[in-house]
Subunit: 582 residues, 2 copies
C-alpha cells in the first residue's frame, strides 16, 4: 500500500491522524522558511506543508527539489490549516510532512496540467496521457463511465441481455467503406470490422434472445470530417415482438433515466415530429427545439410580384430572428457573407427589418410593399424588433442553408444552452433517399428497414414517397440515436435487395445467412442504436466528442501518440499473402 488515503479524502475530522499519501506535485510554493506542495491524484488535491520550525533540515532541502508532476509518497500528520480554502473539499487541513519519498521524477510537461491549459490540440494529443491528468478530460472520462453504468443498469433491469457480437466479420460493399483485415489462414480472404452489429443483432432476435443490447465499438473507413472518428461506440439495442411504439417508449425511458440520474433533469414525454414536418419547419431532420425560429414558407406571399429570384425558386423560406432589427447594415452584410460561404452555399439573402413601430424595411422594397411584408412577418412569426431572413431556391438546397443560418444565429443569441435538454423523436422517415449523382435511390437507414404497412407497393410508382418504420432520437439538434422496425420475412427482404439493385446472387452471397434465418421462424423485431460518444458529450454539456474519448484519432485517422498506422514488415505482408502496390 502506497497510501492510507487518497488526496480527496481528508477532512477536519482527520486532524492529528498519521497518514501516508501519494500522488503528483501539482505545484509548490517556497517561502524560504516554509514550503507548500499541492499533492494531486484523481480524487483531489491535498496541501502538504514543510516548515523550518517543525520540519528537519534535510527534509526541507529534499522538498525544495520537487518539480511539477514529480510522483511522490509522503508520511505526515493531518493538521488544521491556518488559512482555509473553501474551494476544495480538503481545504480545512494540510499535512505536516515527516517523510518524503520521490517515486519518480518528471520532466517539465510540454503544457501545463491545469483546467485551462496552454497546450494546443496537437501537443495535447501527442501527450494524451498528460492531457488526461487535467480535470476537464479526466472528468469527461469518468462521466462517460457513469453514463455507461447507468445504461447497463437500466437495460439489464428491463431484461435486456448484453451479448458480444464478433468483430471479425464479412465485408459488404453496401453503405460506408469497411475496414478490412487480411486473413493469414485463409489466403486471399479478408474479414471486415463491423460498421454496426446490425445483422448479428437481428440474428439474435431470430435466435429468441428477445431483448439484446451491447455497448460496442464500430468502424467506418470514411474521409473524416471534424469530430468524426474511424472507430466509435454504439449502444446497440434490439427487441423482438415489438412495434415502433414499444421501442420509442423503451428508449425514451432509458434517455429519461440518464437525464435524471446523470444530469438531475426531469423531462416528461418527449415530443414527436414527422420527418416531413421537421424538414418543413426546421430544414433539418434533427432540429434543435430548445428555441423557436421556425421556418415560414413564403411562396404564397412572395411569388406574386416581379421579383424573379423568388418567382423562379422552388421554395422561398424565411425565419424571424428575435431582436434582429438591432443589427447594423454592416452586421447584416456580414450575415449575408456568412450564408454565401461555400460551407453554407446560399446565393444570397433577402432580409426585412420589422421596426419597433410595426413598419417594415426590406432589401427588396422595390418589389414588395408594406402589406406584402406584413404577410411575411405573419408567416415567419416575426414581431416588432425582429429581422426576417429569407432564402430561396431548390427546396433540397435552401432548407439546409436556412437551417445552418438558424443554428448560427441561435448560437450567437445564446439560445443553445448546454444545460437545457430538449429531446425529440423524429418519425416516419422516408425508406429511400435519392442519390443525386447516380439518380438511384438507396436505403436511407439501411436495407433491413421495413416500409410502413401497405406502402411497399409504392416502390415501383413513387419510391421517394415510401415511408419507413424508422425513427431518430434527437437531443439539442444532434441525432443521438436512430433505428427502425426491421423486415423479418425473406420475400420482403429479397424485394428490398432487388429494388436496391442487388442481383439475387449478390444478395445471397452477402446476406444469404440473414435471409436463410428469416425462413426458420423470425419474429417481428426492431431496434435502435445510440451514438455513445455524441450522447455522452451532449449530456456532459459539450459540443465536441474528443474529450470523452480516451485516445481519439486526428482528422487523418492517425493516433499521433503511438504513431499509428505505421508500415509493417515485409515478412508480415508475405504471411498475409499481400504486396503493396507501387
Amino acid at each position: 500500500m502506497f497510501r492510507t488515503h487518497t488526496n480527496g479524502a481528508l477532512r477536519a475530522s482527520d486532524i492529528n491522524t498519521e497518514v501516508t499519501l501519494a500522488g503528483w506535485v501539482q505545484k509548490s510554493r517556497d517561502k524560504g522558511f516554509m514550503i507548500w506542495v499541492d499533492l494531486r491524484d484523481r480524487y483531489g488535491i491535498t496541501q502538504l506543508i514543510f516548515d523550518e520550525e517543525r520540519t528537519d533540515k534535510a527534509l526541507m532541502e529534499k522538498a525544495r527539489t520537487l518539480g511539477r508532476e514529480f510522483v511522490i509518497q509522503i508520511e505526515g500528520t493531518v493538521i488544521e490549516r491556518s488559512s482555509k480554502n473553501p474551494n476544495i473539499p480538503t481545504g480545512d487541513i494540510e499535512i505536516l510532512v515527516t517523510q518524503l519519498e520521490i517515486l519518480n521524477e518528471a520532466l517539465l510537461p510540454p503544457f501545463t496540467i491545469e483546467d485551462q491549459t496552454d497546450g494546443g490540440e496537437d501537443v495535447r494529443m501527442k501527450y494524451r496521457y498528460l492531457d488526461i491528468r487535467r480535470n476537464p478530460v479526466k472528468n469527461s472520462l469518468i462521466f462517460r463511465h457513469r453514463v455507461t453504468m447507468e445504461v447497463r443498469k437500466y437495460l439489464s433491469d428491463q431484461e435486456f441481455i448484453e451479448v458480444e457480437t464478433p468483430y471479425l466479420i464479412k465485408s459488404t460493399p453496401e453503405g460506408a467503406r469497411d475496414f478490412v483485415v487480411p486473413s493469414r489462414m485463409n489466403e486471399g480472404e479478408f474479414y471486415a470490422l463491423p460498421q454496426s452489429p446490425q445483422t448479428f443483432k437481428q440474428l439474435l432476435m431470430v435466435g429468441g434472445m428477445d431483448k439484446y443490447f451491447q455497448i460496442v465499438k464500430c468502424f467506418r473507413d470514411e474521409d473524416l470530417r471534424a469530430d468524426r472518428q474511424p472507430e466509435f461506440t454504439q449502444i446497440d439495442c434490439e427487441m423482438a415482438f415489438v412495434e415502433q411504439e414499444d421501442i420509442l417508449n423503451m428508449f425514451e425511458g432509458l434517455t429519461r433515466h440518464l437525464l435524471k440520474e446523470v444530469n438531475g433533469v426531469e423531462i416528461g414525454d418527449f415530443p414527436r415530429m414527422q420527418y416531413d414536418d421537421a424538414m418543413r419547419l426546421y430544414g433539418n431532420d434533427k432540429p434543435d427545439i430548445r428555441f423557436g425560429m421556425e421556418f415560414g414558407e413564403l411562396n404564397e406571399v412572395a411569388q406574386h410580384k416581379d421579383f424573379n429570384v423568388f418567382n423562379k425558386a422552388e421554395l422561398v423560406v424565411g425565419i424571424a430572428v428575435p431582436g434582429g432589427n438591432s443589427y447594423t447594415r454592416k452586421e447584416i452584410d456580414k450575415l449575408i457573407d456568412w450564408v454565401k460561404r461555400p460551407q453554407v452555399g446560399a446565393l444570397g439573402m433577402v432580409y426585412c427589418r420589422v421596426n419597433e413601430d410595426g413598419s417594415f424595411k426590406s432589401s427588396v422594397d422595390k418589389f414588395y410593399d408594406q402589406q406584402d411584408l406584413a404577410q411575411w412577418a405573419k408567416v415567419t412569426g416575426a414581431k416588432a424588433g425582429d429581422l426576417i431572413c429569407v432564402l430561396s431556391g431548390d427546396a433540397s438546397k435552401v432548407r439546409p442553408q436556412l437551417s445552418a443560418l438558424r443554428m448560427e444565429l441561435a448560437e450567437r443569441l445564446g439560445l443553445r444552452d448546454p444545460k437545457v435538454f430538449a429531446p425529440l423523436w423524429v418519425v416516419d422517415f422516408p425508406l429511400l433517399e435519392l442519390d443525386e449523382e447516380t439518380g438511384h435511390y438507396h436505403a436511407m437507414h439501411h436495407p433491413f428497414t421495413s416500409p410502413k404497412p401497405g406502402q411497399i407497393e409504392l416502390l415501383s410508382t413513387d419510391p421517394g414517397a415510401v415511408k419507413a418504420n424508422a425513427y431518430d432520437l434527437v437531443l439539442n439538434g444532434n441525432e443521438i440515436g436512430g433505428g427502425s422496425i426491421r423486415i423479418h420475412d425473406k420475400e420482403t427482404q429479397a424485394l428490398m435487395f432487388d429494388y436496391l439493385g442487388f442481383t439475387p446472387e449478390e444478395a445471397k452471397a452477402q446476406f444469404g445467412f440473414l435471409m436463410d434465418a428469416f425462413q426458420y421462424g423470425a419474429p417481428p423485431h426492431g431496434g435502435l442504436a445510440f451514438g455513445l460518444d455524441r450522447l455522452v458529450a451532449i449530456l456532459g454539456g459539450q459540443e465536441t466528442i474528443r474529450d470523452f474519448i480516451a485516445f481519439p484519432k486526428n482528422n487523418s485517422g492517425r493516433d499521433v501518440m503511438i504513431d499509428a498506422p505505421a508500415p509493417i514488415d515485409e515478412a508480415q505482408l508475405e504471411e498475409l499473402h499481400l504486396k503493396l502496390r507501387a
Copy 2:
C-alpha cells in the same frame, strides 16, 4: 405490443385472465378432438389448448397447420390445467386459445431445438441463430451477461473507471501475431488490432486514472488450437500506487464476489503457491487443487540401484493414484499407452501397486526391494490400495507429462467436480523463459513486467533465476487471470528491451511513447487481466468456452454462418494500395 405476458410469466393466480402471447411453436400434439401446442420464448414455455368443444372449427384447422418453430401470436384465456406439469413454472395453467395469428412460418429446422440436440457441431455453427434458441446456449449467454454485470458493479463500486481504449493501434512484432488493418488514408501503412490494451492501460495510469478496467475484445492471429478463438474477451484491469499484495487482494475480492453472487459459493482466503512449488508439486503452473495426487520426487529413493532409466534421468517423479491398485494389468497397460501418446510424449511408465496388506508389487521389482518401494510410497503419499505411477526424464518434459496423467486420472476418478471451486494464486513467476529453439530468453508475461526488487542484476549472470512480480489466478486447473507489477521507469524499461534483444531504435520506434510517458511522472502500477470466456465457462461449470460465445469461429478462424473471411473486390484492394500475391 405483440403480447401481454411472456411465456414464463403465467401462474394459477392468473386463471380467467385474457392474455395475448407470442413465441415459437416448440411442439404440438394433435389428438383429433384436442390440440396442445407448447409456445416458447426466452422466458419459458406456456401450453396452449384448442379443443373441439370450446374452440371454433376454423381455428382448430388453423392450429393443425402449425409446424415446429412457427412464430405465432395468440389470444386466449388462462385456465387451470387438468394434468399439471410440476417441472415448469407455468405448469399449473394452459391457455384456451380464441385467436391465432401466424406471424411467420418456419422451415423444418436442420436439428431439433431441444436441450439435447441431434445437431453436430458443424451444423449447429452454421445455424447458430437456431442453436441459440436451445436452453444450454441461451442460458450460457444470459449467464455471461450476469457475470459481466457483476464484474462491472463490483469494480465500479471499488472506484474503478471503465475506459475504452482504441482498437486501431500499432503492430508490434513482439509476442503473438497481430491482425492488421490496412489504412486507406495513409498509404502503405497498417493499424493492428490489440492483443491486449496493455500499453494503453499503463498510459492511463501515467494519466492519473488510478483504477482502470475494461471488458474488451482482444485479437491474436495464432494457429488455432481447439477452444481458442482469434477474438476473445478480457476483463482488463490496472491500478496505480499499488504493490502486488494490493492487486491480489482486490481481484481475489472480485472473484470471491462472483463465486458468491453467481454461483452461491462462499470461499475464504485463496491459497497462494510459488511458481516453483506449483511446478514441483503439480508439474504445472496452473494446478487443479480440487484434489491431491501431489508429485513425489523420487530421485533420492530411486537412483541408488542399477535401474539405468532412472539413474540417468534428471527427474524421477511419481503420483499415488487413490484406489489404483484395483486396476487390472490390462488397464495399467492402457494407461502406459496413454502416456506414450504423442500428445503426452512419455517414453514409458513405471508403476508400483500398494497392496491392501501394505506390500508392494512394482514393474521394476528386479531393481527395487520392498524397502525401496516403501520409500516411494512415503514420498508420493501412497496408501494401501493405491497405485504409484512414476515417470522419469528431463524435468521440463517429465513434469508436464505427469501433470497430464494426473489430470486424466482425476477426471476418470470423478475428482474434477465442476460444482466445486478451488481458486489458487500462483506467484513469483520467472521473469524470463528460455526459448528452446533459439536458445534466447524472452519475457514470460510481457516486456513490461518488473523483476523482483534487487534481482535485475541477475539478468546478466543467471537470467532464468530472475523472479518477477507476476502472478496468475488459477481456478480448477485453468488460468483465469494473470498480471504483474509493471516497470514504471524509463531506465529499467530500456534495460529490459535491451535484454530482450531490441535495439534502442527498435525500442523507440515501437514503444517510444511509453518510455516517453515514463519520463513525465509515472506512478508505480500493476494490474491483471481475466480471460472472460474461460472464466464464464468455468463458473458455468463447463470446460469448453464455445457455448458462452454467441458467434464463435471454428478452428480455421472461420465464421461458417456468415461465411467469413471472404474475398474482397479488386477496387477495394486498390483503394487500400494492396495487391494479392500470386
